[in-house]
């Protein structure tokens, strides 16, 4: 098998095929992400991917960029350090719902509050996949998982709501099916100054979808087609996902807000020489992509 895929140069091809299950949406998310970075115009040398623990966390291991596979929940503070040490780096956090919102929840909200300049891609498959399908902070009410055998009785987080309330200036949600819009949104998120969050709803056919009798990965993608509704600009407070209900997707928040470093410069720029000013990433303009 000598055939190579055009994206192979951005993959650590000695590690392909990857470990994700048949029908898992992560490969599709990764493809969309690679499309986005290729089209972004941002030099690949400046890109750093930081991930946590979980199936989504494995993304870092497959991308042929400076990539960091850190501990559970701690991708965001690690990325914060990386960013602040060298603001010319484009730092992207790719991790799962449990990693970013449960154990990593505190870091998520504080980094959004500070508006640290990084892009956070949260792949939401509604459970902890890597460890066998336990319930997590986004598991819909009533769903079955290995730690909620009687049906989940906890209310889940709405990630866009959490992100927006914490101050993220760019919040979007897409499903793994809608790859073109997803890639464009990822591209916007990459170019957005500040803490941009893109949630991707993705199948977990081996675990969550199986436990909840939702069929194969393909069946779940078809259900996205039925249930996903694009509502750009929807109120993030009103986009919670109901079990077997509508999935509202689109770009919910896209505002301008000074980043952490903007505020540092504002306060300290007059008093001190701030060397990192010289390291500002050269912005590349890309036509905006609203659909």
């Amino acid at each position: 098998m000598n055939e190579r895929h055009p994206m192979d140069k951005l993959l650590r091809e000695d590690r392909i095929p990857h470990i994700w299950c048949s029908g898992c949406g992560l490969g599709t998310c990764l493809t969309a992400f690679i499309t986005a970075i290729q089209e972004s115009g941002i030099p690949l040398e400046q890109m750093c991917v930081v991930s946590g623990i979980g199936c989504t966390g494995r993304v870092a291991g497959y991308l042929n960029l400076d990539s960091f596979h850190t501990t559970h929940g701690r991708a965001i503070p690690f990325a914060a350090g990386l960013h602040l040490a060298n603001p010319s780096l484009k730092v992207i956090v790719i991790s799962g719902d449990g990693d970013l919102i449960a154990i990593g929840g505190n870091h998520f909200i504080h980094s959004a509050r500070r508006n640290l300049d990084m892009t956070v891609v949260c792949v939401n498959n509604f459970n902890y996949g890597m460890t066998g399908g336990q319930g997590g902070p986004t598991t819909p009410l009533g769903s079955k998982t290995t730690t909620t055998p009687y049906g989940n009785f906890e209310f889940p987080f709405s990630i866009p709501y959490l992100a927006a309330a914490s101050g993220a200036p760019y919040v979007a949600r897409w499903t793994a099916l809608d790859t073109r819009r997803l890639s464009k949104s990822l591209g916007e998120a990459l170019h957005k100054r500040g803490f941009s969050v893109v949630e991707i709803i993705s199948p977990c056919p081996t675990l969550f979808n199986r436990f909840n009798k939702q069929g194969t990965g393909l069946d779940v993608l078809k259900s996205y087609q039925q249930n996903a509704v694009i509502q750009h600009g929807a109120d993030p407070a009103k986009v919670a996902i109901e079990r077997d209900g509508k999935i509202i997707v689109g770009k919910f928040v896209d505002i301008e807000r000074p980043t952490f470093l903007d505020m540092v410069k504002e306060r300290l720029g007059d008093k001190f020489e701030i060397p990192w000013e010289k390291l500002e990433r050269k912005e590349v303009t890309v036509p905006s992509a609203d659909e």
């Binding site: 400076d66 914060a80 990386l82 602040l84 300290l268």
Partner: protein, 384 residues
């Protein structure tokens, strides 16, 4: 990213925590991420003011866990980084200290110890984290820890910690205590050009030939920095020389053994202690941190009483100077180990003495320094 201007020089009257902060700056540290916790907060406060003056970055993170991770990330971004905490925060940092060890990330973690366990005595001294410093994170590993006994030492040893962390690519712990952190004394800061600093070992090969975890002869690999085109993969999972996760026994043996041997084989270059009057000694008082300093009076009194007592201060506590203790145990009657806990480093002394000399612990629950009488009593018992 570095600026010479603003680095202090000359003689100053500083508290230990302030001296630590200045030591970090003198060592080239330009990134601090921390969380306030008594009695280490002054390190963070001082750096929040001083780091912008030298072109560095200070950030107060949301908790100690974030702080530990931020300093790891910033190290991979190319900076010399540090955090400071005390007991409760030290416990929180343990998991990610392991990440730093596994990924071989240079950074410095200062623990200004206080009374424990748990919330304990936030404003008062303790030395109860010494074993945690060695074994606090999970899994098998070796770590380097230094212990200052004065503000001047706190300054000097912080610099030493940075140098050791860069040389051996391992997080280095500065195990101070509340008394050393809060006492104020004269600190002499040398001219910046005269301070010996160890530079990061960056790759000597181009990206196509670079393997992130291919060790040099001293078992330390070259460290690429993010953003320079090396496209490395760094993970906390057991990994091969390419940095890719490999989950099997062979990879574990190759990697973890090297991480351990990296410190053990190079121990002779790392271990440091101060030995006085030990040649003719019948008893040696062995200690570290503030307890080493408070041993000086009892030693003087004991000498006046005619007891031949020597003084051994551990400057580098981990790795522990096994061979030294073993050798000394051969010609003394006993060791006296005063420490502000119920026996931690004394266990190491006992272990390394191999039964050749008795080891008398002078414990202290915390909250104060040792009563010289108690140490003197122990010296008399050891000499008997």
């Amino acid at each position: 990213m570095e600026s010479e201007s603003g680095v202090l020089r000359g003689e100053h009257f500083l508290s230990g925590n302030e001296a630590c902060a200045e030591g970090a700056i003198a060592a080239g540290c330009r990134f601090f991420a921390g969380y306030p916790i008594t009695p280490s907060t002054e390190v963070a406060e001082h750096l929040s003011e001083r780091l912008p003056e030298v072109g560095g970055m200070f950030i107060q993170m949301e908790d100690e866990i974030a702080s530990m991770n931020a300093i790891l990330g910033a190290a991979w971004g190319g900076m010399k980084t540090m955090t400071a905490t005390s007991g409760p925060g030290f416990s929180l940092m343990m998991e990610n200290l392991g990440l730093g060890i596994m990924t071989e990330t240079p950074c410095v973690l200062v623990n200004v110890q206080r009374g424990g366990p748990s919330t304990g005595l936030p404003t008062l001294v303790g030395q109860g984290d010494m074993m945690q410093a060695r074994w606090g994170s999970h899994g098998p590993y070796e770590i380097i820890a230094v212990s200052p006994s004065s503000p001047q030492e706190f300054f000097d040893l912080t610099i030493k910690a940075f140098n050791l962390s860069e040389q051996w690519r391992v997080p280095v712990l500065v195990m101070a205590d509340e008394v050393v952190g809060h006492m104020t004394e004269k600190v002499t800061i040398p001219e910046p050009g005269t301070i010996r600093l160890t530079a990061r070992r960056t790759p000597r090969v181009p990206p196509e030939k670079y393997l992130p975890y291919e060790p040099d002869a001293d078992l330390v690999p070259q460290m690429a920095i993010a953003g320079h085109g090396y496209r490395m993969h760094i993970t906390g999972l057991t990994h091969d020389r390419k940095g890719y996760p490999v989950i099997n026994e062979e990879a574990q043996a190759e990697l973890v053994e090297r991480l351990v041997e990296k410190i053990r084989k190079n121990k002779h270059e790392i271990v440091e202690y101060q030995e006085e009057m030990c040649e003719d000694a019948d008893v040696i008082v062995c200690s570290y941190g503030i307890s080493a300093r408070t041993s000086l009076l009892p030693i003087e009194r004991a000498r006046e009483e005619g007891i031949k007592v020597g003084f051994l201060k551990l400057i580098v506590v981990w790795p522990f100077p096994d061979e030294l203790i073993d050798e000394l145990a051969g010609h003394v009657k006993g060791f006296v180990v005063p420490e502000i806990n119920f026996g931690q480093i004394s266990l190491e002394v006992e272990r390394c003495a191999h039964g050749k000399a008795r080891v008398i612990l002078v414990p202290h629950a915390g909250g104060g320094i040792h009563d010289p009488e108690k140490v003197l009593e122990a010296i008399r018992r050891a000499a008997a």
